[in-house]
């Protein structure tokens, strides 16, 4: 219960995309480069309006590729930077998203998922870019992606996306969908002074001594900003700790592995999930993003009907927490995975279940959202 003398956090009716902009600003975003695409455009429009009000800068670039590139460039000057897009634009961003991952340059990329493939069904909701978020750019690397399932959470995850990005020096994908992006809900706006804001670390060693790609104990390097006097080098070529290209097999091997291990080694800090009613459950519903709303309702309805059903809602979708998911589904009769694609995350759950728990995908790709009744029907099908 809230203390009577404490003023309640102000609540504001906001659209999901609007909440992302406000969250990003609260996290310290001061640069945005983007390109118009529905259903993410409001993020660009609001950034154009709000950023100069707080001394930040906005630019509408000539294409999606350029906006991703500009965000990486902007971030290298030490400014927190973001871009937003949807499926077709997300495909185009993959080139420089891979560059940012490999160059270990913090930034936030919002993907408000719409129905694909290709131009698809503009602009119906979908969750078809789950695997693209994980594997869309070439080569091996790790990635952080977060899935909000309410407007309030979109606000909070925008802040968290920046924090994780700064802490681990990697782009963070805010992998939302049209349901959340265009929905309006009340958001509790915390007092900015109460927010935990993480800023990227700065070198303590002088220029000439500091190595911009030498990892710390967590596996994360510390880079200066352009203009700091360190005169360092950034490249998309595989590089050694000094930032310069190398083909030394030993150095290459550890450089590539670290792009994944710096995230998996810190999984407990990066990972978040909402888990409830799973302890006594026979069935677990594994759902994320906009679809988790219908799943939560379906679980409630099933419980009311006397069925023992729980919900596992990953908030951090990548990296996937094998151990945690295994713990939640072990010994259960079935795991139901409703999603607006043809079973992209169901395959991950199946991989973890490894044949010990039945995994039932509930898929929908007709441009409409999954209803609680459809998920409930799948639950009833097991019982």
């Amino acid at each position: 219960m809230a203390k009577l003398d404490a003023p309640a956090a102000p609540r504001r009716l906001m659209q999901g995309n609007e909440a992302i902009v406000e969250g990003a600003l609260a996290a310290g975003m001061r640069f945005y480069a983007g390109y118009p695409i529905t259903p993410s455009t409001e993020i660009a429009e609001l950034s154009a309006e709000r950023l100069p009000q707080v001394g930040g800068r906005f630019i509408q670039m000539e294409d999606e590729i350029a906006s991703m590139a500009a965000v990486v460039g902007g971030s290298l000057t030490g400014v927190k930077a973001m871009t937003a897009t949807s499926g077709p634009g997300f495909s185009l961003k993959m080139e420089n998203l891979g560059y940012a991952i490999h160059g270990e340059i913090p930034c936030v990329v919002v993907n408000v998922q719409r129905m694909g493939p290709s131009t698809g069904l503009p602009t119906s909701p979908a969750q078809g870019d789950m695997m693209q978020a994980r594997y869309g750019s070439h080569g091996d690397y790790g990635v952080i992606a977060l899935c909000p399932s309410s407007v309030d959470e979109a606000y909070r995850l925008a802040i968290r996306a920046f924090n994780l990005s700064e802490a681990y020096r990697t782009p963070v994908i805010l992998l939302t969908d049209e349901i959340i992006g265009h929905m309006r809900e009340a958001v509790s706006l915390p007092d900015p002074s109460t927010l935990d804001i993480i800023d990227r670390s700065r070198p303590t060693e002088p220029p000439g001594v500091h190595k911009s790609y030498r990892p710390d104990a967590k596996g994360v390097p510390c880079q200066p900003n352009f203009g700091d006097g360190y005169r360092f080098h950034v490249t998309g070529l595989i590089h050694a700790e000094d930032g310069f290209a190398t083909s030394n097999p030993k150095v290459v091997d550890s450089a590539v592995r670290r792009l994944s291990s710096k995230l998996t080694a810190n999984l407990d800090d990066i990972y978040q999930a909402e888990i409830h009613d799973t302890a006594d459950a026979d069935i677990v519903v594994f759902a994320y993003g906009g679809t988790a709303r219908a799943a939560r309702r379906a679980v409630k309805m099933a419980r009311k009907n006397g069925m023992r059903v729980g919900l596992y809602r990953p908030i951090t979708i990548w990296p996937f927490h094998d151990e945690m998911v295994r713990w939640a589904i072990e010994g259960k009769q079935a795991v139901i995975v409703p999603e607006l694609n043809l079973g992209q995350m169901a395959r991950e759950v199946e991989r973890v279940a490894h044949g010990t728990t039945r995994v039932i995908p509930v898929t929908k790709v007709n441009g409409e959202i999954l209803t609680p009744q459809e998920i409930l029907a799948a639950i009833e099908g097991v019982c």
Partner: protein, 276 residues
């Protein structure tokens, strides 16, 4: 214009990264030297200057230069540079790119950077060929020239990059050649001094792929050809169009200062502050 006579070029280079990867006779070293001298003449702060390059032979130059440097993705150097300049307008931003990098895969970024007149100096090292991938035709390969992907002769008309960026809105446009290194240096000085988008096309030679394939001889012959083809801007003005075919108009092609992009954004900041 007084050019610095005794420039300690070494001061601006990461000497431990040398020797460079460029072939014997390649013109890129001459262009790089001219740029470094121009930077010295203008007196740019080494700690406040960012060198941005794309992908290709010429784009390897960033690694040899002792500044904040970024070797980006193919064609995207100007887009990265735009982000750097926008996020911190106090930085001097110089882009090094090649003909394939700037005019083919990066063509869209080139015209839009010019249109915005953003404060970036773009040096395009134009050797009329994709060198790093071993000799495919580029948007500046002359018609009828041979390339590994044009074994029967190139049918693509070639771009006049200076005309392209002038039309797109660049406020300073110039062309020089590796043969006339001092002229190139002078043009680069003016480009660096211009507050807006400056474009310098540095025509140079690729003896390994373009020269060999097109029987132009060694670097010496190719550079002699650059000299023979060169026509100063002042002389070109009185020449008829057919007489200019195959010629390289060198010198200051276009200079029309206008408001620089990040300074225009300062007006946005002011308005937002007043109204917000």
């Amino acid at each position: 214009m007084a050019l610095a006579n005794k420039v300690n070029v070494k001061r601006y280079l990461r000497r431990e990264k040398l020797p460079h990867i460029w072939c014997p006779g390649c013109g890129h070293g001459i262009v790089l030297s001219a740029l470094v001298r121009a930077i010295a003449t203008v007196g740019l702060d080494q700690n406040k200057t960012v060198i941005v390059s794309g992908i290709g032979c010429s784009s390897r130059a960033s690694g040899y230069m002792d500044f904040d440097t970024i070797h980006t993705t193919h064609g995207r150097a100007l887009a990265f540079a735009t982000g750097i300049k926008m996020a911190n307008p106090e930085l001097n931003v110089i882009v090094l790119t090649g003909d394939g990098d700037a005019a083919a895969i990066g063509g869209n970024h080139l015209i839009h950077a010019a249109r915005r007149n953003i404060g970036i100096t773009c040096i395009c090292l134009n050797n009329n060929i994709y060198g790093m991938t071993s000799g495919q035709y580029s948007p500046t390969t002359p018609e009828c020239a041979l390339a590994t992907t044009a074994p029967y002769g190139n049918i693509d008309p070639s771009f006049d990059l200076c005309k392209l960026v002038t039309a797109a809105g660049a406020s300073y446009v110039a062309r020089g050649t590796a043969m006339q290194a001092r002229l190139l240096e002078k043009l680069m000085v003016k480009a660096l001094q211009n507050d807006g988008f400056s474009f310098v096309e540095a025509v140079d030679q690729c003896p390994t792929y373009f020269g060999r394939k097109n029987k132009q001889g060694d670097a010496y012959n190719m550079m002699k050809l650059q000299q023979e083809r060169s026509v100063p801007v002042s002389k070109a003005k009185s020449m008829e169009l057919p007489d200019l075919a195959g010629k390289l108009v060198v010198g200051e092609i276009h200079s029309a200062p206008r408001q620089e992009y990040t300074k225009a954004y300062d007006t946005v900041l002011l308005k937002a502050h007043r109204e917000g």
